[in-house]
């Protein structure tokens, strides 16, 4: 197993049946997990589908504390986590339960990346090519096609005023903003982020609070919320910049959950579980935008402008630099590219885009709580971006239209959507990792 993990192809050439070994690993791990689930169910006299996500995260926390691949470490990590949680709940109350797990996770990821018992190895194995991106030539859509599609999209409300169609596409444009933000940070800059929904939440709450408490109009509060999200989001992720590969994915996942839990618990600011009501609708020059058409055009224009800016960024030297950070951090540093600076820029810009998306959504829904932007949205974001092609701006929008538009069109209910996103993701990773339009 260790040989297979360290060098799959070399293990093959030792006569190891790598596929059988991997299957055995999953079988053993699943058996242990199942046993654990059985014990949890018997202890709490209760099981439900939502258990799995929380349990996964807690397992990850225990593993990080103990050190990857370290069996006694995993046991001790789990014990430590359990103790911290129990005492924490006793001190602060049950709603804080998960907060401890995630804070502990982030602390360990950043402070003790090898865990309490993991060996400190001075040997750094050089990657041949250090990237997760599937190499591909992006599909170049001709300019006239893109321009034509954009014009058609803007002209659509003139052709029809079917509310269902316009609302669906409006949702697609908003999802497009989320996809744009994720594709920049994970696709272009190579920093896998699984907590993107948190940025939407920060943007939404920021704009809502500015509007409710300070009476700011949308034209002020939305961009302001974007800037707040950019700054706050970057600050939150900054300590994780030193992490590599999948650890940054875990860290962003944890940070996303922490943001969500802080929103839940900071009642004085966010209204806690009750949320915020009476968020004023979007307005322009004093007039409320309440027709489907006006809302549609607002969202589409925002998406178009930000997409154009992001495309411009990609073509600039800055875009080139971000991709260098993704490709090979060591070579990048050796040519003067400061990693922290550029990762921060990527998270900053993408935070702005996501924050704007969250802000507009808040005004449209006129009600927000900590469940509005849940982790399912982060999964949706990832699926959209993979479907379209990592780093690909057009791909992000295409992914949004397909994954938000089509289920609506076929009247697929909410419970099945997660199933669809999961299946799409699996199929993509297996058969077409570069997505529909190719990675950039």
């Amino acid at each position: 197993m260790r040989a297979t993990a360290q060098d799959r192809e070399a293990a093959l050439q030792m006569g190891v049946n790598v596929n059988a070994v991997n299957s055995a690993v999953f079988a053993i791990a699943s058996a242990l997990g199942g046993l654990g689930g059985l014990l949890v169910g018997m202890y709490y006299n209760h099981i439900d589908p939502a258990m799995s996500f929380q349990a996964t995260l807690k397992g990850v926390v225990a593993q990080v504390i103990g050190g990857v691949g370290n069996v006694p470490g995993a046991i001790l990590g789990g014990a430590l986590l359990g103790l911290v949680e129990s005492y924490g709940i006793a001190a602060f109350g049950t709603t804080y339960r998960n907060l401890f797990a995630f804070v502990l996770l982030v602390v360990f990821l950043i402070g003790f990346p090898n865990g309490l018992f993991g060996a400190r190895s001075a040997i750094h194995t050089e990657p041949l090519v250090g990237t997760f991106i599937a190499p591909s030539r992006p599909v170049r859509a001709p300019v006239w096609l893109v321009a034509g599609a954009t014009v058609a999209a803007f002209a659509l409300p003139f052709a029809t005023s079917a509310p269902y169609l316009l609302q669906t596409l409006t949702n697609a444009w908003l999802a497009g903003l989320l996809a744009l933000s994720l594709t920049l940070v994970s696709g272009t800059a190579g920093q896998i982020s699984l907590g993107q929904a948190a940025w939407l939440a920060i943007g939404g709450y920021a704009s809502a609070l500015l509007a409710i408490d300070l009476g700011a109009t949308a034209i002020v509060s939305v961009p302001a919320a974007g800037l707040i999200t950019a700054a706050l989001g970057t600050l939150l992720v900054f300590p994780a910049f030193r992490l590599r590969g999948h650890y940054i994915a875990i860290a962003t996942l944890a940070i996303g959950e922490i943001v969500s839990l802080v929103i839940l618990n900071w009642e004085s600011l966010t209204g806690g579980a009750m949320g915020l009501t009476g968020i004023p609708p979007l307005s322009l020059l004093g007039r409320d935008l309440d027709s489907n058409r006006a809302i549609y055009w607002t969202c589409l224009s925002t998406l178009a402008v930000l997409a154009l800016l992001q495309a411009r960024l990609l073509r600039s030297h800055l875009g080139r630099t971000l991709r260098a950070v993704r490709e090979d951090e060591i070579a990048a540093r050796s040519y003067g590219i400061g990693l922290d600076r550029y990762k921060a820029l990527a998270f900053g810009f993408s935070g702005f885009v996501a924050g704007v998306g969250g802000a507009i959504t808040a005004h449209l829904y006129s009600y927000l709580n900590s469940q509005t932007f849940d982790s399912q949205l982060s999964l949706l974001a990832l699926t959209m971006v993979m479907l379209g092609g990592m780093g690909n701006v057009l791909g992000a929008i295409a992914g949004a239209v397909v994954l938000v538009g089509l289920p609506e069109l076929f009247r697929v209910t909410a419970e099945y959507r997660i199933l669809i996103y999961g299946c799409v993701l699996l199929l993509l990773v297996r058969f077409r990792p570069q997505g529909l339009l190719g990675t950039l």
Binding site: P135, L313, S316, I330, R333, Y335, G338, L345
Partner: protein, 281 residues
């Protein structure tokens, strides 16, 4: 006159093993200095300490009069030190042109304002707005990149927009050197630039390095191909087991009996085994 690069008392340990022991080394302006020695002698470790990827346990490294042994790799690159890597590290999914343009990253002034806190934000805004000076700088750099690539004949120029992963191994290593040249370094550090290349490719690379030297570039070279080392170098340092065992002009080093014993084995490589074979077949 002070040397371009001066190393005094450099030491590095990994666990209980001393990878580099008490090393003194210097490269003077316009010189080509070679670092040779058996595998594991500490040559690449020394390179890593000079370029900032690794930190020495003891000793000092002085470049153009500045102490650089505590600086980050980015800062050292900005001072004009460019290096290539033992196994070749190019930006695989980026085009040849992009790879070379990134080599010039430290030289861009229009695109990367040097203000401390506002710097990154300004850089972002400039990328989005793209005023004329930025465009001009980019065009000038693209022309320069083409000139650099032309040094490699027609090996790389027709592949300007191909992604680096699609190139042959030899071409990838050439791209790596082109990227280093785009930095316009005061010191060029090459780590086994001809590893894995056949004799024809090696000869081409040797000619290129000789040309760079003729143009006045200061070069620090790690190489195993001794003919090349002897023909190109002004001076040679021989390392073995982390310590310097000889230094001097190529001829002097080649005839040093201690060097021959530790490093070359016999003066005729491979011939002994060959003679046994011929006797049997």
């Amino acid at each position: 006159m002070a040397a371009l690069l001066e190393i005094r008392g450099l030491a590095r340990r990994f666990g209980g093993v001393a990878a580099v022991k008490d090393l003194d080394l210097e490269v003077r302006d316009g010189e080509l200095v070679s670092l040779i020695g058996p595998n594991g002698a500490g040559k690449t470790t020394t390179f890593n300490m000079i370029s900032g990827l690794d930190r020495a346990d003891e000793g000092e490294i002085v470049f153009s009069g500045l102490r650089i042994d505590r600086l980050s790799p980015e800062a050292i690159a900005a001072l004009g030190v460019a290096r290539t890597f033992q196994h070749g590290r190019v930006f695989a999914n980026l085009s040849v042109e992009d790879n070379v343009l990134l080599g010039a990253h430290t030289r861009l002034s229009a695109v990367r304002p040097r203000l401390p806190l506002e710097g990154p934000v300004a850089e972002l805004l400039l990328a989005l707005v793209r005023p004329a000076p930025v465009g001009r700088e980019e065009e000038a750099l693209k022309r320069e990149a083409r000139e650099i690539l032309a040094l490699f004949g027609d090996r790389l120029t027709p592949r300007l927009h191909h992604p680096a992963y699609s190139l042959s191994y030899a071409n990838r290593r050439r791209v790596e050197i082109a990227r280093a040249l785009a930095l316009r370094p005061s010191l060029l550090m090459l780590d086994e630039p001809t590893a894995g290349m056949n004799p024809t490719e090696t000869a081409e690379m040797q000619a290129l390095i000789a040309m760079l030297k003729a143009r006045g570039m200061s070069i620090l070279l790690i190489e195993h191909k001794l003919d090349m080392v002897m023909q190109l170098s002004d001076r040679v340092y021989v390392l073995d087991d982390g310590a310097k065992i000889a230094e001097g002009a190529p001829e002097a080093v080649r005839n040093d009996p201690g060097v021959i014993e530790a490093y070359l084995g016999h003066s005729e490589i491979g011939r002994t085994a060959g003679r046994k074979q011929e006797a049997e077949s």
